[in-house]
Symmetry: C2
Subunit: 204 residues, 2 copies
DNA sequence: AGCAAAAAGTAAGTGCCGCTTACACTGGAG
DNA sequence: CTCCAGTGTAAGCGGCACTTACTTTTTGCT
């Protein structure tokens, strides 16, 4: 029995794997108190360390947030890929499923979703995050390319994929913004996604 | 010659119309330093008053931001209505012009645009803001209803209008997020908007 | 094994911010 | 003229981001 309450998986260095614990704490805080109502100090408190400890792992607050965003984008990308793989390649259902994964992510963790986009805490200059964003778009592009029987770098493919992405992106934000409003069930999402895919790509 | 540097238009009460000056200062700050890099204290400094003065006009920071958002939504609504009025009612061009006004607003003042949406500083519980948001959507609904020859409260009209709004909303965010990227000219916007309108509503 | 250095933590301090309290001025109504 | 509501200030509280100086633990070199 270790006497420290942390030290989950890592037998690592000194106390526990603080870096991972901080990221987890931030995720939780952002989800419960919103992206604004979070502080490095509170995250440190939750991890059971002093308020200066986080700065051994992250240069400053934006860097910590960027780490959370990076991890979130990995999960988003994985979810989108899973959605695509669950249906016949190039089918409308596959494309709608990619969008559904996106919307599900936003509904499931709206705070983190807002953090990934929304904020301008400097992650538009982070090459790694930009690459991950393009990688997510790539899932859509790939599916559209298959459906249209064109190369993924074809201009029309990029155009259609962007239009689908913009709709899904906007729909995700509107969904988490008006949580109290009428429209918002999962099945509504699905019919929207099928309809927009059909409208943009033509029937199948 | 008044010795105080403020007191622009109002000979009003005591010093100047501080309320309006604060809103203007916040708009400027949000635009130049981003929605996060703004403070009530700095806004007060710009208006030439003490850091406690704003609290005579606004209960707290969120209320000040909500005032900025409210004013911004008025301008957004006016711009959308202007866009609609500039073309034949029910034309694809009218509908695209509404979307164009939306995107133009986002491009023109991305900081304020992010403030209006994005943030959760409590304005999802503000009845006035909710009403103004619905009023903006109403412009789209009205135009779609005219085009489809249906009543504005018809379910299909609401559905199509929502789909168009979601696209425009997402496109606006993506546009201001990747300011460095390739796609982003005004004419690109216009062709996108015409294409999505045609895809959703059918050719005309 | 032994030890120097690096990694990972703490305590305390600085300056800014949000917000409150107590007080001062100003202008208009009675 | 006086009082008072409206509008401003000064000063202070607690919290946060971040730094500096210091301690402790892990690691890697010989």
């Amino acid at each position: 029995m270790s006497k420290s309450p942390q030290a989950q998986t890592r037998p690592g260095y000194h106390h526990g794997d603080l870096r991972a614990q901080l990221i987890a704490a931030v995720r939780d805080l952002v989800e419960t108190h919103g992206p604004e109502g979070f502080s490095v100090a509170e995250a440190a408190r939750r991890a059971g360390v002093s308020s200066a400890a986080p700065y051994k792992h992250f240069k400053d607050r934006p860097e910590l947030l960027r780490a959370v965003v990076s991890e979130a984008m990995d999960r988003l990308h994985a979810a989108m890929a899973r959605g695509a793989a669950a249906h016949a390649p190039g089918s409308l259902e596959a494309i709608a499923a990619i969008g559904m994964a996106y919307v599900d992510f936003a509904r499931g963790e709206p705070g983190v979703f807002r953090l990934v986009f929304g904020l301008t805490e400097g992650h538009e200059e982070d090459a790694e995050l930009i690459e991950k964003g393009e990688s997510c778009l790539g899932v859509v592009v790939q599916a559209v390319a298959v459906r249209m029987g064109l190369a993924p770098d074809h201009a029309t493919v990029a155009r259609k994929a962007y239009m689908l992405w913009a709709f899904v992106h906007g729909h995700s934000f509107l969904t988490i913004d008006m949580k109290n409003k009428d429209m918002g069930t999962d099945t509504d999402d699905w019919t929207y996604l099928l309809e927009i895919s059909r409208a943009v790509l033509g029937p199948g």
